[in-house]
């Protein structure tokens, strides 16, 4: 055994963490994409975003019983519930002047606090167990290692979701309106598209993405008392690292965070607490000029 370890096996122990990092990163991407939408298009810093993810997660824990039908049901219910919560948020935010970020942040934080409390009251204070479909419960062989089948399928599904998202934003009329609203909301309003409708739509879409991530990612970042905070923090770091408006940047940032959280921890366990911090500082330092130019008051 020891004799073989010098060869290709030196990277062998890190294959599984690296693969896990991809799954983790894609999950964070789907969750963060919703936040990017709300922030980039509707100009709302939605601090309740983590709660929307938790709605999906708790739905998955409650509905999943190991069958495929339950997965479909959980996905449908979770996405609808989180999207409905997004619409509710949009409704609550209507009287708040747009561009008043402090008030928006406080309002969405209040909703997150109350919603999180309701979720814990409804589903109990313990972290619930999540049952994946029986066919995916086992493990498969990847490069000579056993790897959870669900995560492998999740990587495929999340990649499809990311591709679908990209095509929607790039190719459809709704996507064009969204991009136009980022650039020039006044002009979009002049074209006869109600900004209120765009805002409600974007918050609903952001909620749906968070809900989908919550259901599909429940076996990876499971529902629990800390879920909302964790997801919000990871999404915020993704937004800070990846910038706004570029989906490729968001994807790269999310994958980097996934690798840091899994591969980085496996490689440098002693430095694990600081890795996220260090990554954020490093990327911002490299991009400082660009960021300063982009974010400076113009």
């Amino acid at each position: 055994m020891i004799a073989v370890a010098a060869g290709p096996n030196r990277i062998d122990p890190y294959v599984i963490p690296a693969l896990d990092g991809v799954a983790y990163g894609l999950l964070v991407f789907v969750a963060a994409a919703g936040l990017v939408f709300c922030f980039g298009v509707a100009n709302i810093l939605n601090l309740a975003h983590g709660m929307l993810y938790a709605i999906g997660g708790y739905t998955a824990a409650a509905v999943l019983d190991g069958s495929w039908a339950s997965l479909a049901l959980a996905l449908g219910v979770g996405v609808l519930a989180a999207a409905a919560a997004g619409v509710l948020l949009a409704g609550l935010l209507t009287p708040v002047a747009t561009g008043n970020h402090l008030t928006q942040a406080l309002l969405t934080f209040g909703v997150a606090l109350a919603g999180g409390s309701l979720l814990v009251a409804g589903f109990g204070p313990d972290d619930p167990q999540v049952l994946v479909p029986a066919a995916l419960d086992g493990s498969v062989q990847v490069a000579g290692h056993r790897y959870a089948a669900y995560r492998l399928v999740f990587i495929v599904v999340a990649t499809a979701l990311a591709a679908g998202l990209y095509l929607t934003v790039r190719r459809t009329r709704a996507g064009m309106l969204v991009r136009a609203a980022v650039d020039d909301p006044e002009m979009v309003a002049c074209l006869g598209v109600s900004p209120t409708r765009i805002r409600v739509g974007v918050l609903a879409a952001g909620g749906a993405l968070a809900g989908a991530a919550g259901v599909l990612g429940a076996p990876i970042i499971g529902p629990g008392a800390d879920t909302a905070d964790t997801v919000l923090l990871l999404s915020l770091v993704v937004v800070v690292l990846g910038g706004l408006g570029s989906m490729v940047g968001t994807l790269l940032a999310a994958l980097a965070i996934g690798e840091i959280q899994t591969l980085g921890v496996a490689l440098l366990p002693s430095a694990a607490p600081f890795l996220l911090f260090a990554a954020m500082a490093a990327v911002l330092a490299v991009r400082a000029r660009g960021l300063a130019l982009r974010w400076a008051a113009t």
Partner: protein
Amino acid sequence: MRDEVLRRVRAAVATLVLAGLLVAPWVVDDYTAAILARTLALGLVGVSVALLTGVAGMPTLGQTAPYAAGAYASAVLGSQVSDVGVVQVAVAALAGATLAAVTLPLVVPARGVIVLMITLAIGELVVTVLGRWRSVTGGTDGLAGIAGVRPFWGLPVLATDQARYLYTLVVVATLVGAVLLLLRTRAGVLLRAGRDDEMRLRASGHRVPLYLSGAHVAAGAIAGAAGSLLVVAQQYISPADFGFDTSALLLLGVVIGGTASVGGALVGAALVIAVRDWLFGVLPGHAPLVLGALFVATVYLLPTGVTRARRPRPVPAPRPPDVAPTRDRDATPELRV
């Protein structure tokens, strides 16, 4: 009209709260005095939030980061250096200022809601580090059994909750007084000018980012000093004291007090924290729900509190329901990458 009423209500509440804080140690029991001392420390963090949010125009959700740095520095380093409170406050303020200085490159180039986002990320990351760096911080279990302090060389160690409360009160009053004096000088004027019209100030040759950096470091030092007071008041600290909830509550308190008002921030933050502690006492299990509802209600009751304090609006133009979202050009990032 409404503004006038709001102003009077604020003034009356502030007077009541300040008078209450002065007589409190002789009226309330030990437990309440300890809680009040912690509330005062958080009120001081609220002052640093107001300094950044209202005076310098950088809304922050991350002042718990220097607050935590100060608290842990005071508990870990300060107690080894000396048991004199003044020294520990200085160590804590230095730690808070250092953390603020380290995060300067992340915060100062950003404006508006981006600051909110970056500071939130910094605050959360600091809490994560505190929870995982077990060898120094004791992890999520926190640090207990922190030795008592003597306020000044030659004075006895603070043994009762009343004494600790009075010590906290004196330090908070001194620091708030210093901030108020500082804001009356040229520095305060420049900060406010930068908040109101950055381009104009830059055009007249002022280095606005330098002023903002100064404000950020100063706010970090204040929050750090508050951390040392928390250690004295509680004699126990854990990462739970510095969570995201605390930042949001402080921001709410600062908004209630009128963002640009330092005294208002102290009173507002103290009130919000007191309400939270009271709620957790009377409604175990459902306090976050009520607290969240209170957030929403407060936002609706003070719909213009924020904008008015930050930039005076000459005429409240009638806003048709379907106008385009009027973006704050200077507060909104460019969205291209």
